[in-house]
Amino acid sequence: MQDPLAFVIAIAHIAAAIALLNGITTTFGQAKIASQALESMARQPEAADSIRTTMFVGLALSETSGIYGLLIAIIMLFANPLVTILLNYLG
């Protein structure tokens, strides 16, 4: 290991990529919500309005984990605290 700073930055980029992987599970959850809502709307068209409202709220709630992953990735790339600590340590 020649340069500790390069190592930390490379690890931070890999960590950002891993944090973005939770998009897989988030998408599966949202797809399940949308398909279930479509099925209930087809079964009961008169209740479509209330089902649509509940579906949007459910989609937004399950989207939260994906957004957290995105924010962690952005912090890793642009505002990484570890790089600052390392720069202070190296002097």
């Binding site: 409202t53 949007f56 937004a60 939260t64 957004i67 957290y68 924010l71 642009f78």
Partner: protein
């Protein structure tokens, strides 16, 4: 438009340094626009007739749609909070639409969204105390008083998740549009980005604003009932 929030100028009040950032100035522009529209509506209100037409028709339709939406969400009894959430809805919607003009939307800054979500938290506590008094406090100690820290953290996490949701969505749109402008030649920067703006600003912005308002209304409803 860039990834960083630019600091336009700094002022000093009593030895404290305050930064006037791009976000604050853009919020002022939106406030100015909304205040002018409100004053025009107030002046025209005197000449309103029994049978609406033109400008009066549009204003009445918007207000009525929003009041019906609030009534269907929180019920008849609590629907007096509709004007506040109408203001929040308009401010967040115009913040999202602001980046159509190539400027940075104020909601792509965590300060703006957290301020809005924090006011929702304060409103939630206030409505809970006002409508249920002791019962609301007792709910924090359910099912046993050992659970008080967990209940408190659960309540305090609500504005954080509410603000992060809106902030993350608007920031991701801003980043993608900025990358498009930075990486493509001048030739394709006219006309084609309008598709990106239509998706990330208009559709996502309007949907997330709606979700912000409906989740705040649901928090208020669960606190007050």
């Amino acid at each position: 438009m860039g990834l960083e929030i630019d600091n336009l100028w700094r002022i000093e009040i009593f030895g404290h340094e305050f930064w006037i950032t791009e976000t604050i100035v853009n919020t002022w522009f939106i406030m100015l626009f909304l205040i002018i529209v409100a004053i025009i509506a107030r002046i025209k209100l005197r000449k309103f007739k029994e049978v609406p037409s033109g400008f009066q028709n549009a204003i009445e339709a918007v207000i009525e749609i929003f009041e019906n939406f609030v009534k269907s969400t929180v019920g008849e009894k609590l629907s007096y909070i509709a004007p506040w959430f109408f203001m929040v809805f308009m401010l967040l919607l115009w913040s999202a639409l602001f980046s159509i003009f190539g400027l940075r939307p104020p909601t792509a800054d965590w300060a703006t969204t957290f301020a809005m979500a924090f006011v929702s938290l304060v409103l939630m506590f206030y409505m809970g105390f006002k409508h249920r008094k002791g019962d609301y406090l007792k709910e924090f100690f359910e099912p046993h008083y050992i659970f008080f820290p967990m209940n408190l953290i659960g309540e305090l996490a609500k504005p954080v998740s509410l603000s992060f949701r809106l902030f993350g969505n608007m920031l991701s749109g801003t980043i993608i549009i900025t990358l498009y402008y930075a990486l493509t030649p001048m030739l394709v920067q006219v006309g084609i980005p309008s598709i990106l703006h239509a998706f990330f600003d208009v559709i996502i912005g309007a949907l997330q604003t709606y979700i912000f308002v409906i989740l705040s209304l649901m928090y208020v409803k669960t606190a007050a009932e």
